[in-house]
Amino acid sequence: MIERLVHWSRVKSPWVLHLNTGACNACDIEILAALMPRFDLERFGILLKGTPRHADVIVCTGPITRQNRDRVVRIYEQVPDPKFVVAVGACAMSGCVYRGAYNSCGGIDQVLPVNAYIPGCPIRPDALIDGVVKLLNSVK
């Protein structure tokens, strides 16, 4: 009974942490647009949280820079289980134009296990909503 309640609340109200791992800010602006009233991610119960300790989903934008790698892993470890990582944008998926550069580690999946990839450069808010809803459906 309790387990079902926890599962229901997790699917109905995932709290997200918005984490920029080295992006150019374009994807971040689109994520903010998605959270605003026009696209209104909150109708899926999705709330933006300021700390990893309250979050269920990490929304990562940008390639992981060499300077950022250890910090990203530390933030990931602070998120309580079960946790999900969404790679947002072309850079977060593969490293994009920064792939193979000396100060970049490539996509998010080189460092963290990724649950969902959302393509686009930058992503559209609709794509973000679609990706998050698909992630929630897979959790169901």
């Binding site: 250890d70 193979g100 000396y102 100060n103 580690c105 490539g106 999946d109 080189q110 296990p113 990724v114």
Partner: protein, 156 residues
């Protein structure tokens, strides 16, 4: 005061400090100086013609030598002050006593080219990652980067 008169004044006043001065394009003066005369020339330009704005300092790997270009400008023209430093002992003088804001560019030069800036007020690394190995300078032409193997999640 136009670029031509500035060039003539430079060639007349500090003839013994510079190696060469010319006008490479309209409103762009090129000045070559020796390493040890750099601070004197920059102080003269700043005081005489108000070349107070340092756009950037750029480094250039020429093989045998490194060329360092100081991009200065005032209200009417810009001037590029160039110095050469040999690869075997890549030392350049710090210009922070004349232009204090140059500190960031000089720290970047130290990171990227391995130039040794003498008398720099703050020699800490600026741009590269904290765990960057010592003695690796990414903007040198002979620098090779070994790309680490990529992980493919879930296999092939």
């Amino acid at each position: 005061m136009n670029p031509e008169t500035i060039l003539e004044t430079i060639q007349r006043d500090i003839k013994e400090k510079i190696m060469e001065a010319s006008l490479s394009a309209p409103r762009r003066i090129q000045v070559r100086v020796q390493r040890d005369q750099l601070n004197a020339v920059l102080a003269y330009l700043k005081q005489q013609f108000a070349f107070t704005h340092l756009g950037t300092i750029s480094g250039n790997d020429l093989g045998e030598n490194f060329e360092v270009v100081y991009h200065l400008s005032n209200a009417v023209t810009s001037v590029n002050v160039r110095i050469l430093t040999p690869r075997s002992s890549p030392k350049i003088p710090s210009i922070c006593s004349v232009i204090p804001g140059a500190i960031l560019y000089e720290r970047e030069l130290q990171d990227m080219f391995g130039l040794v800036v003498e008398n720099i007020p703050d020699p800490r690394p600026l741009l590269l990652a904290d765990d960057w190995p010592a003695g690796q300078f990414p903007l040198r032409k002979d620098w090779q980067y070994e790309r680490p193997a990529e992980v493919i999640p879930g296999g092939e």
